[in-house]
Amino acid sequence: MYGHAAELQAERSPVSARMDEHARLIQAVALYRDRAAFSRLFEYFAPRLKAYLMRAGAPAGAAEDFAQDAMLTVWRKADLFDPSRAGAATWIFTIARNRRLDVLRREGRESALPDLDLTPDEPERPDDLLSEAEEAARLNEAMRQLSPDQMAVLRLAFFKGDAHSEIARALDLPLGTVKSRIRKAMIKLRLILEPTRGQE
């Protein structure tokens, strides 16, 4: 029951004190197969996942199936969620992102395509290690510093992928303007989000 999630909240450590509500719900699903916790996640995220795919151009029916499948993956893979590495929304977005590639293949089965970042033990360079809270703070700062124009084009890029001509049509802008706006927004994001400068 959802009581488990409340329990997690009660005995929270300094790390989980920064954890968002949704992160606690995912942990309750992982630890106790808590259906009430899952239902609350579903109520919040499924309609947004559906909206995400509809913005990407899918019809409502397919988008609803997509949202259901993605939420089933949340249930199955909840134990891979590491709240110190990613926020709940980021983790669920990543599931949707991997899932969207599967949908593109028009195949129902679980694919062997490289999934991003669902496993907690991905090696990372030490200088890139920031806590989830630090990452979230930087992200907020970055989003504050982007212009509304840049934010609009980034948002659309998340829905439309590399279909820059569709983004251009949606914003009624020349293709070149869309591309240069994305590049400038990415330069700003790098400056703010990357902990250290350097070469690799």
Partner: protein, 213 residues
């Protein structure tokens, strides 16, 4: 150090983080990022931006039974084990490619062989592994669509540039391509091809009927 040279473009990286690349392109970018930990970390940060975009979306109401249906599926699913697909026969491949099934090697000219990477397809776009022996070139060719290539071992040079392990090259249909291997070891590449490769020149015309690339 030739850092950040021959890497993925910002637009393509963003599309990758967003899940908006075709699966074959995504496979090549994933292979490339396994050689570029800093860019890979940036891609993960872009996904956090994706999480925020997801939160900010105006919700689309789900059907009345949507939740009940998924809960019913979790019942059936309870014992389902997650078994990853088996590793393929090439331990030298980077981790993102290790569990993709591979077709047989095919001869493609002197010192050149190719094998299909099964799975990631999108219409005419697919993934291949290409191995070229030291000093050899592929036949001159042009492409129907964009070709993304990532060097996995060795190095090759085109008319103007040199590509080493981990480097990525984007070529479009205007590029006339004749990479020559400049490393002492064979050059192994993973490539996403869109459309047929058109061979050019007398050797190409000779080979075209026999070469299925």
């Amino acid at each position: 150090m030739t850092a950040l040279r021959h890497t993925v473009s910002d637009e393509r990286l963003l599309a990758y983080a967003a899940g908006g690349l075709s699966p074959p392109e995504a496979v090549v970018v994933a292979a490339h990022l396994s050689f570029r930990p800093r860019t890979a970390a940036f891609a993960r940060r872009l996904q956090a931006l994706g999480g925020q975009v997801l939160r900010d979306l105006e919700p689309e109401p789900m059907g009345d039974n949507a939740l009940a249906e998924v809960l019913a599926r979790t019942e059936v699913d309870a014992g389902a084990a997650r078994t990853p697909p088996p590793l393929n026969d090439m331990p030298q491949l980077p981790e993102p490619l290790r569990r993709l099934p591979l077709g047989p090697w095919r001869w493609m000219g002197p010192g050149v062989r190719v094998r299909d990477v099964h799975g990631p397809r999108d219409g005419a776009c697919r993934v291949i592994l290409l191995e070229i022996q030291p000093g050899r070139t592929t036949p001159r060719h042009t492409h129907g669509g964009v070709e993304l290539t990532c060097v996995l071992t060795g190095a090759y040079a085109t008319e103007t540039e040199r590509f080493e392990v981990g480097d990525m090259e984007e070529a479009d249909h205007q590029t006339l391509h004749q990479p020559r291997v400049v490393s002492d070891e064979p050059c192994l590449c993973v490539a996403a091809l869109d459309g047929q490769i058109l061979l050019d020149g007398w050797l190409g015309k000779l080979l075209q009927p026999f070469v299925r690339m």
